[in-house]
Subunit: 208 residues, 2 copies
DNA sequence: CGGAGAGTTGAGAAACCTCAAAGCAGGTGG
DNA sequence: CCACCTGCTTTGAGGTTTCTCAACTCTCCG
């Protein structure tokens, strides 16, 4: 079907710091990240922010907006990025005709729900070390799945953003990085991270 | 369409403590709660548990299982309950023919994602008082939407389960209840809660 | 009526936060 | 191209919140 092409024909680029969408804006499309890095965040009335995720190429964002026809969070580019806009009406229409596409959409939404469960686990019952270890292992696995090194990568987000995501203050994140480095788990130079001892890192999270 | 009836024809009852499904079980249906109360929880390898939600009549659970064709959490009845099983293949089939149903399904999944965002906010950037206040106001609002009193209700879950959901220890939950009672926000008799001062309770969460 | 599970309360410990100061890196304008 | 400025990161010291451990009470079933 050439109609499928229409799903992925609309591309847009964003400079670092630009908003893909903001909370409250009307909903009309999902977005597939083709290149770059985004964060999603919820802002509280009193100014507190909660980073709810970091998205990398191949991942879809915007599904929060379906339920109320308006976005419920902000999406911000963490580096120069390119996205592909997927008009949701068209996606629904096509998925009525193409069961495989329909199931795929459902799986993507379900995966988001499962991802959120994992974050709840992390925020609700892990200590700072475990949270950071889980975060790094998750990044590692996602970089690996995209053909990048699972052991050495560049963090696109600040300590403050990592902290917000992990429910910690930036100082605690920084200290935990330093502690991991002292213990030979990581080699950290600001945003450059190299995992030196995956097994011990995993043992923090209980994967062993 | 009488096919729609087939979606809701399969009913089952559960005694308190019985499992609707367990993590790892194969996926074939979503479940609508008709009566009673459930909790969903994720179990960690090391025995830690994280309660990811409390579900009441009218709510749909099981959507986590779509992405990997297997459940990723447990669902346990907190009191004698009745559910309605919705075979997912049938639901997808029907939603291909009935766009309104299709959109409804997407909204339900999206609502779950938004709900999870709220919990991340709660777990990531609120203090114990704020978490409990948010939890009680959320229950209040949901009871109210079902025609029950928003101000007086019975908790179906233990302090331990509330604590797990809120990322707190049961003692902290208990102490915070006592503190709210001392300050005239609540009247608490174990599982019976009466909200005495909604406005002040809301002010904790920043809803003013 | 007894027992088991659930809840409350206290005291001390641990984890994390706050505030503060100093060091770094990267971008911008002269 | 360099110097400066801004925002990010690191590290320290002390304070708060929450947790842990423990004892006791309450409630609800059987």
């Amino acid at each position: 079907m050439q109609r499928l092409d229409a799903l992925t024909s609309l591309k847009r680029t964003f400079k670092r710091g630009e908003y893909l969408y903001r909370s409250g804006e009307p909903f009309h499309a999902l977005y597939a990240i083709r290149n770059g890095f985004f964060k999603t965040q919820v802002l509280h009335e009193d100014g507190r922010e909660q980073v709810t995720g970091f998205q990398m190429p191949g991942e879809i964002i915007g599904m929060d907006a379906i339920c109320a026809d308006a976005h419920t969070c902000d999406a911000v580019a963490l580096e120069d990025s390119e996205i592909c806009e997927i008009p949701f009406n068209l996606l629904e229409e096509l998925s009525r005709d193409v069961p495989v596409l329909q199931r795929h959409l459902h799986k993507i939404m379900s995966r988001e729900i499962v991802r959120d469960q994992g974050i709840m686990m992390l925020l609700g019952s892990m200590r700072a070390e475990e949270r950071l270890a889980a975060f790094l292992l998750n990044l590692s696995q996602r970089f690996s799945a995209r053909g990048y090194s699972p052991n050495a990568f560049l963090l696109r987000m600040t300590r403050q953003e990592i902290g917000s995501y992990l429910g910690l203050k930036l100082e605690t994140v920084s200290r935990t990085f330093s502690q991991f480095q002292e213990n030979g788990l990581l080699s950290v130079r600001v945003r450059e991270v190299e995992i030196m001892d995956v097994l011990r890192l995993r043992s923090f999270v209980g994967h062993i």
